[in-house]
Each structure stands twice: as structure tokens, then as C-alpha cells.
Amino acid sequence: MITAFIHKFSSPKSFVNLTEKIYPFLIIFGVSMLIFGWAWGLFFAPQDAVQGNSYRIIFLHVPSVIFAELIYFFMAVCALMHLVWRVKLAAYLIKSAAPIGAMITFIGLFSGSIWGIPTWGTWWQWDARITSTLILFIMYLGILTLHGSFSNLEKADRLMSILVIIGVINIPIIKKSVDWWSTLHQPASISVSGSSSIDPSMLYPLFISVIGLGFTLIALGILTSRSYIFTREKNKRWVLEHV
């Protein structure tokens, strides 16, 4: 029953048809929210008492890091769907989401490093959050490389799904263990985003940019997955009719 239901609503054809309809709304809403949030954050939000103006990187950095992890989580759900119910679309989505995840993780790492220079005086710290984000980045690359190394694409889909699931267990473990490790020699001296104590005038634009980046990334995901679905199913009749 469940299997039949899932397969009916997860055909690549209906996915492409649906996403094509909602794409314009997503991209317009996402980009305008992003512009609004960033403009607010960059020009109108007050200066931070401690960090000065450098904290304005937060409006790009925090959304990136959030989606770096959310995208991986999304991929893990897809991987489960692919392995348990053999949903082809799920594998296509993993493959198209991975480069976006890698890109946004890179932006998160990069913005964090640049932010670190004026704030901590160093661009790198071995604390739990940064280390696990770096590992996340490496895992995205590993997933992409693994998928690229097979000529039989169905095999590649399955192995990639297994790796994604192993990775989703690994990320929190690394985070916890680094935390545990670093509390041994020094208490965590730097907290990257003290989100609980943040002022509302900074929180609103941050919230808006998270939503904006989220919708923009969904739109991007729709584009990449569409091109990938066409590539994989180029011999199917519905693709011919669609193009």
C-alpha cells in the first residue's frame, strides 16, 4: 500500500511538472526575501557592541551553515526512501542536492573563516562546529566522487545512498566527540552564534535571510534536479514530449 502510494507520487514526471509550476514563485519570493533581509542586516541593523561591524557576516554565514546541515539531512531521508522503497527520484534528488550542499557548506566555512580574522585574530579554530562542518564538506565531495566512479548508474545510486546514511550518523558523533575532547583542555571560549542572547533588531533580518536563502536554494535544487532527471531519463517518452 505505502509502496504503491509513494511510487505514484514520486515519479520523475510528476515531480518535474509540479516543480516547473512552482519554480517562478519560489525564486521570486526567495530572492526578494534575501535582498530584504540582507539590506536590513547590512545597512539598518545596529552595530554589535563587541564585534563592531564584522558581525554583519552573520546574515550570510548562519543561513549557510543551517542549510549545509539541512541539505544533508534531506539527502539522508532521500537515501532511506531509495534503499527501502527503491524510489528512483530519491536518488536523483540526492545527486542533485549534493553539489548545492557542498557549495553552501563551502560558503559557510569561508564566511566563518573571514569573520574569524577580525574577531578572533585567526581564521581557523579546532572547535566542534567548525570541525564537523569541514567534515561535512569532505563528505559531500566524497559522495559526489563515489557516484561519479561508476558506469552502472543504478549501482552508483545505491552505494551513494548507503554512504549518505552512514554519514548522517557520523556527523553528530563527530560534533559530540570534538566537544567532549576540547572541553578537556579549555572551556569553549568562542561561541559562533549566541543566538539566544541576540538582539531582536539583529534577529529579524537574520530570520528573514534564513527564509530567503532557503527558498532560493530550493529553487536552485529544482533547476539542478530537472537537468539531472532529463539526463538520466533521456530515453523515456515523457521527456521527449516534455522537451
Binding site: 567534515i135 569532505i138 563528505m139 566522487t145 549501482k155 554512504l163 554519514g167 557520523n170 563527530i174 575532547w181
Partner: protein, 216 residues
């Protein structure tokens, strides 16, 4: 199961470079690292354990390289599939044999060298136990990486399995500190034994699924 363990040990004993190579690398790294630091300036026993961790990682990688590759290439895996219908026993006994024949000797060498570098004699057994357990974990994880890329050699496997080894390294570092300061060692060893048991039970299931996908 006994048949598989016997066959694997026989095969490994005939492949000189597969078991002697990692041992030699372990010895070489342990000799070479102290030479590359100015001993008079630094306190060697402070650095020594990080050297052991690095060489453990390297040797575990070298030792597991091509673990399943040969059996995949020459078709032995297909034959095992026809007999067992599953790879769990094959994988389990292979990892067991590799840990017994390569992992534990490496741990012994590591413990011996740290003993030679001024660690108290009571710690020798502790370090041996600790390194053997870490090798059990590392071999399981790298075996997974190797299984993923049996069609393309080991490099890809390293890339995908190295992040998995990170918690093990952190745990190892923590345990070594506990030996140095002589506190909380039993708790950490108990934790590592628990993780080791769980991993060696679960990893073969995952690896077996990977291998099944490969012969498909």
C-alpha cells in the same frame, strides 16, 4: 565460519606484502618521526602519542587496502555468494583475521615503542589493549571504505572512510591522556570495547550490502 577463517588466514599468510608491509611501515614511521623533531628541544614523550596515532592511521589504511579488491577481481566473491547467499560471514571473518594477524601485531609494536620512550611498564598492557581496540575500529571503518570502491582502487575509499575514523582518533587521544594522568582509563576502555563490539557486529552487515551491490 571456521572454514572461512581458515581460508582467509591461509590466503593472508601467503601474501607476504599484505601483512609484512603494514608492520614495516609502522616501525619505519615510529623510527622516522623522532628523528625529524629536534629531540633536545622538545619533550619527546609529550609528542610520542600523536606519532603513534598518525602511524596507526597510516598502517590501518595500508593494511586494509585491497581487502576485498582481489576477491572481487578474480571472482571469489561470486563463488562465496553462491555458497553463503550473503557476505556477512565472509566479511566478518576477513576483518577478524586481518585484525588478529596485522592489527594486534601493529598495536604490539606501538606499545613496545612507547615503552621504549619512557612510559611506565604498567602502562604497556594498557597501551596494547587500547591500540588493539582502536585497530579493530579502524579496520572495520576502512574495510567499509574499501568495499565502496572495489572497482576503483583504494584512494576513493580513503576519502569516504576518513571522516568516519575521526571519532576514533579523538577517542584514542582522550584515552592516551587518561593513561598519562592516570585517571578514568577503565571507563574509556569500557566505552571503546562497547563501540568495538557494536561496530564489528553492524559493519559487516553494511559492507555485505555494499558488496552485494557491487557483484550485481
Amino acid at each position: 565460519m571456521l572454514r572461512l577463517i581458515k581460508a582467509e588466514s591461509f590466503k593472508l599468510s601467503k601474501k607476504l606484502k599484505s601483512w609484512l608491509g603494514p608492520l614495516l611501515i609502522m616501525v619505519l614511521v615510529l623510527i622516522a618521526f623522532p628523528l625529524s623533531i629536534d629531540i633536545s628541544q622538545y619533550d619527546l614523550d609529550k609528542f610520542y602519542f600523536s606519532i603513534i596515532v598518525v602511524s596507526l592511521l597510516m598502517t590501518a589504511f595500508v593494511a586494509t587496502e585491497g581487502m576485498f579488491e582481489e576477491d572481487f577481481e578474480d571472482g571469489s566473491l561470486e563463488q562465496e555468494f553462491l555458497i553463503e547467499k550473503d557476505f556477512y560471514k565472509v566479511v566478518f571473518s576477513k576483518i577478524l583475521v586481518y585484525v588478529a594477524f596485522i592489527g594486534i601485531p601493529i598495536a604490539f609494536i606501538g606499545a613496545l615503542f612507547s615503552f621504549a620512550n619512557g612510559v611506565a611498564i604498567v602502562s604497556f598492557a594498557k597501551i596494547l589493549l587500547l591500540l588493539s581496540l582502536s585497530n579493530l575500529l579502524l579496520f572495520n571503518l576502512f574495510a567499509f571504505g574499501n568495499a565502496l570502491s572495489i572497482n576503483k582502487g583504494a584512494m576513493l575509499g580513503v576519502l569516504t572512510a576518513l571522516p568516519l575514523a575521526l571519532p576514533v582518533i579523538i577517542l584514542l587521544g582522550r584515552a592516551i591522556r587518561s593513561i598519562q594522568f592516570d585517571e578514568g582509563f577503565t571507563a574509556i576502555i569500557a566505552l571503546m570495547t562497547g563501540i568495538g563490539l557494536i561496530i564489528s557486529a553492524i559493519m559487516p552487515i553494511i559492507i555485505s550490502a555494499v558488496l552485494k551491490t557491487h557483484i550485481d
